[in-house]
């Protein structure tokens, strides 16, 4: 956390203030894109579900009671009002370091062969050059996985995130068949370390503990977003590949540099694209093409 970081301080404060003001309206824990914080003595005011204004530690503070399952289920299904989360992946910067994959697998209690996020080696069909493409759930705005789910175990929230409720899922795997991006993975056997985690309250936004016989996939780190932080993969990347933010605000923040930029400008200047737009799934993940000179 060096000099660059300091420059962002004032912006962070500014956002915090907005956050507190906005809290009254959304009556949920504040969600800010402060993204990073150098010290933990900063306090943020947030509104709890029972309408109490409390001060929390803005770095580690969780205004969420992670043991109250019905509350977790409620906020997990509702999402964060007024937001539309998007991710931008700059393929030109990916060096296949796979720190993102590791962070993801460790946070979501996944086995080595289970990927919420998979860095694929792709080939440019015209130039024959290879490049690396982190592929995750595209959080489609017209998600085929959600349409086919027979029990509403996979659903789309108002903030654009597609989540799985692994206490509802019946394990029919229709969503796996329906997802054209192969973004979903299944717990074919007892999940990793299930003994160890068995007493933890299920948090839909993190989708842990994993459960045998249910499907799991990328959650856009909904639990981290709720705390005002960037997704696990974004923060883990050393190369500045990932940007994450809110399309309504038109701002995205880079996970490595913490630099916040205009989404529309970023997409336009770098001729961003989405994966298989012809399928009409309307992904929330944008890719910036790998440039030959980068």
């Amino acid at each position: 956390m060096g000099n660059k970081e300091k420059g962002k301080q004032s912006r962070r404060k500014f956002l915090q203030n907005i956050g507190v003001a906005g809290v009254g309206a959304i009556s949920a824990p504040a969600i800010l894109f402060t993204a990073c914080s150098s010290s933990s003595d900063k306090k943020t005011k947030v509104l709890t579900p029972d309408n109490k204004l409390i001060e929390i530690d803005s770095e580690n503070g969780l205004a969420i009671d992670t043991t109250d399952k019905s509350y977790l289920n409620k906020i997990g299904r509702e999402g964060i009002p007024g937001k539309k989360f998007v991710m931008v992946i700059d393929l030109g910067k990916c060096r296949n370091e796979r720190k993102c994959m590791k962070a993801c697998q460790s946070e979501h209690q996944l086995k080595p062969e289970q990927h919420h996020l998979n860095v694929l080696e792709m080939e440019n069909p015209s130039s024959g050059q290879t490049y690396f493409m982190p592929k995750l759930c595209q959080h489609c705005d017209n998600p085929p996985c959600v349409t086919v789910c027979p029990v509403d175990a996979t659903f789309k929230r108002q903030d654009g995130i597609v989540l799985v409720d692994n206490e509802r899922c019946i394990g029919c795997r229709f969503c796996i068949a329906a997802c054209p991006y192969s973004a979903r993975t299944f717990n074919w056997t007892e999940p990793r370390d299930s003994e160890e985690y068995k007493d933890i309250t299920y948090n839909m936004e993190l989708n842990v503990p994993q459960k045998k016989g249910t499907v799991t996939k990328c959650a856009f780190s909904a639990d981290r977003i709720r705390e005002g932080k960037l997704p696990y993969c974004n923060s883990a990347c050393p190369n500045g590949v990932y940007y994450f933010g809110d399309a309504n605000e038109d701002l995205v923040t880079n996970g490595t540099t913490k630099e916040t930029v205009r989404l529309s400008k970023l997409l336009k200047q770098n001729s961003a694209y989405t994966l298989m737009p012809e399928l009409g799934t309307q992904p929330s993940v944008y890719y910036l093409p790998a440039r030959e000179n980068s």
Partner: protein, 437 residues
Amino acid sequence: MENINEKFATIEKDLLAPVKWGKKSIIWMGFLMVTLVVCMFFYYQQIRNGLGVTGLNDFVSWGIYISNFVFFVAASLIGMLISSVLGLAGSKWIMPISRIAEIIAVSFAMVAGLIIISDMGRPDRLHHVFLHGRIQSPIIWDIAIVLTYVAVSVLLLYVPLIPDIALLSKKQNGLPRIQKWMYKILSLGWANHPNQYKLIKKYFKLLAVLIIPIALAIHTVTSWLFAMTLRAGWDSPIFGPYFVSGAFVAGCAAVTIGMYFFRTSYNLKSYITDYHFDKMGKLLVLVALVYVYFNINEIIVPAYKLKGGEAEHLKSMLFGHDALMFWLVQIGGLVLPFILLLFKKMRKPLPSLIISSVILLGAWFKRYLIVVPVQQHPYYPIQNVPDSFMHYTPTIAEIAITVASFVLFLIIATVLSKIFPIIPIWELKEEVKEQIQ
């Protein structure tokens, strides 16, 4: 009059004879039960350890359970074709085999529902389907329609059975008391009154009409489990009729096999004759022709264009990994039998049996080819997973659980054919009467 009574007596004697639990049938049932128990042990393992005991993986996540389900639904369609479509069209020859067709339909349909459960990762959450069911999911449509189809085909089997059940209740001796008691209840106070016959015929007709759209729907909806996705190879608007036409082929083959089996082991050679096999053979030729037509459309049209994701899948099917199975199924399991059945000699009982068995086997693998290979070619490459994820090979446990579904089918079909006459006695009598007059 003498003559007719004599004839009636032989009919009753011949057709009621198999309705009892002889030594042979008890041994057969025992064998089935033991096999079922062995197979269920593997299901217990699956429940305990998860679907990981199968060869399924994140890419091929639907395997032989689902293709077997499609096969069962397909084979169950035939009861509808034979007894309702042909029956309503006034074909007389189907009378002695209509009940066989219905029993096959009911048994396949009942087991199909169970196969779906065996494929679930969390069968303990089956009730979620009723608690949280969402109407836009084709699975919900499928469950609703399978249940409806089972219910209506049971009625379709039952209604024309009533006079025969009454006969059994009156005449058949040496049966367990509970069975007698069941006949009594099921015969609904049947008194052989002409009005009652009229009523039966009326209800039968009503059900026969009702079952046509339901049966078409059940297989169309099953095809939609695939066609409603965006996967190259499944994303096809003709999947509905393609599946339905394939179902008729599989079903006709199943009925021919059933006819042969009942004819020999229940001593019905003079009731199910060469004539019936000949007719069934011709019916098979007709439905196979329609199916070949749909196959040509389903394969040649995309193969001509070889667009995007479909190209890889088609190439591996036509010349690659799945080519051997594909050509065996298409040529050996469909085209060749079709050509053979054009010859009268091949429509005799034994050749019919052999050809039908090959067709049925081909039909099973055809379902496999529809379900599995598409998933081996997703749009994005399969990477960073164990090599076993590249292809799908069913495990012993998975095969055993699939075998269990066939065993269960045989159990249901055997029980039904052991407690009810396999040929409608009263309808046969009516026919004899008409002929004499």
